[in-house]
């Protein structure tokens, strides 16, 4: 599936991605009965828990459960149904559409050679129980989920941010978090190292990758017009290739002479 082609001639000037909430069309869902092993597993789950929806997509079973059952369902999957790996766990931001997070647990059974996904919805301020005493791999994944989405996990042994700094504000993977960061993010390093009063001295971030200022010799010199820090920009092009060393040479240091260099015909 490809997105429609859009003219990107002056891509530096305007954002061409105006469909931030574009949702890919769903691939077809099969009934669980079409797979013997999954049908049995679902039977076993249904006998104990409330299953809201279940289907097979791309050969993987997806079941929707009640978020309060998450520990029991995972324990059941591990102990009774031989799903011995929790390979991934995270959240999906549906706040704009439904005011909810979708939490998913991606499971793998090495003996059955099957993958399945357990999903549930929680409200924005709701917390979910930790599963990291059942599956150790949930430890960092739950911390990441908290860091990136702000989903609070109850009874986690070390509920702290994992990727962003501890004093960070905001949860970057939420859809309403700006890609270039909010004000806190944009001034984070300046505020932290120098203090807020240095904001004026250092100035805002330059986020325009096409920005060129030939008069500015404090940041980048114009190529082949290099001058020293803060000096007037030069009009004459400099020939730097001859200039890496002073004319008279440097004591004890050989100077590379282009006319004396040899080009090998073949490798030695």
């Amino acid at each position: 599936m490809m997105r429609r082609y859009q003219e990107k001639g002056d891509v530096q000037k305007k954002a061409y991605y105006n469909d931030r909430f574009w949702v890919a069309p769903q691939i077809p869902k099969d009934p669980v009965e079409s797979d013997e092993i999954f049908a049995k597993d679902l039977e076993s789950l249904k006998s104990k828990f409330e299953i809201k929806e279940a289907y097979i997509q791309r050969g993987q079973m997806v079941v929707y459960i009640d978020p309060k059952d998450n520990r029991d369902v995972l324990k059941h999957l591990k102990e009774e149904l031989a799903y011995n790996f929790l390979s991934e766990l995270s959240a999906i931001d549906w706040l704009a559409q439904k005011g909810e997070f979708e939490i998913f647990y991606q499971m793998l059974s090495t003996s059955k050679r099957k993958r399945m996904r357990v999903k549930c919805f929680i409200k924005e301020k709701e917390a979910i129980e930790s599963v990291c005493d059942i599956y150790k791999s949930a430890d960092w994944a739950e911390r990441e989920m908290y860091d990136m989405f702000g989903v609070i996990v109850n009874n986690h042994p070390y509920m702290k941010r994992i990727l962003m700094p501890d004093d960070w504000q905001g949860h970057p993977l939420r859809k309403d978090y700006p890609l270039h960061g909010d004000e806190f993010a944009q001034w984070y390093e300046v505020d932290k190292i120098f203090g807020k009063e240095y904001r004026d001295i250092i100035g805002p971030e330059n986020r325009d990758s096409a920005y060129v200022n030939e008069r500015d010799t404090k940041h980048f010199a114009r190529i082949r017009h290099e001058v020293r820090f803060g000096e007037e920009p030069s009009k004459e092009p400099t020939d730097l290739m001859k200039e890496y060393q002073e004319e008279g040479g440097v004591f004890l240091i050989k100077k590379f002479k282009k006319d004396k260099s040899i080009t090998l015909k073949e490798r030695k």
């Binding site: 962003m164 890609l179 270039h180 944009q186 932290k192 971030e205 330059n206 986020r207 060393q245």
Partner: protein
């Protein structure tokens, strides 16, 4: 007696070399630029390649040191994240004067392709930079050329000048 007269000052007979203190000091400094190992991302691979035998940084007297106390030069090779910004400043402050900084690669220069909330948009927001080295990643030759330019700049400076306050702090 006149037969054996040695004209010390003219025939190069005197085993003494005359130079200025500036020149000899800066000559020494420029040829023993010990660099702090500061690999942050993929550019670090090129920095390591410059240090290895094929490109051989030792020819320039540039040896990588793992301690800021022993380093004169910080080659910022890679993407500086906002989380790491305070540590780069701390390590820079721990380096003994005189010290220089080469910002290696687009990421260190401007944030490069990481135009996001988590990347510092150029290390010069945090530490003063002497040489900006363009490229993604710059090849080892480019890094060596940058070091040669820096050596030249150092030789041009006076050894005892009062340290100019650089752009920040």
């Amino acid at each position: 007696m006149a037969q054996h007269q040695v004209r010390y000052l003219q025939d190069g007979g005197l085993p003494v070399l005359l130079t200025t203190a500036d020149k000899i000091l800066q000559w020494g400094r420029s040829n023993s630029l010990w660099a702090l190992t500061y690999g942050l991302a993929c550019c670090a691979i090129e920095m390591m390649a410059s240090g290895a035998s094929r490109y051989d940084f030792d020819r320039f007297g540039t040896i990588f040191r793992a301690s800021p106390r022993q380093a004169d030069l910080m080659i910022v090779a890679g993407t500086l994240t906002k989380k790491h910004a305070e540590f780069i400043r701390r390590l820079y402050d721990q380096m003994a004067e005189p010290k220089w900084v080469i910002s290696m690669g687009s990421c260190a220069n401007t944030g490069g392709m990481f135009n996001t909330y988590a990347t510092v948009q150029g290390v010069d927001r945090v530490i003063p930079v002497d040489i900006y080295l363009p490229g993604c990643a710059p090849r080892p030759e480019t890094l060596q050329y940058a070091v040669m330019m820096l050596q030249k700049q150092i030789r041009r400076e006076s050894a005892f000048q009062k340290l100019k306050p650089k752009r920040l702090v």
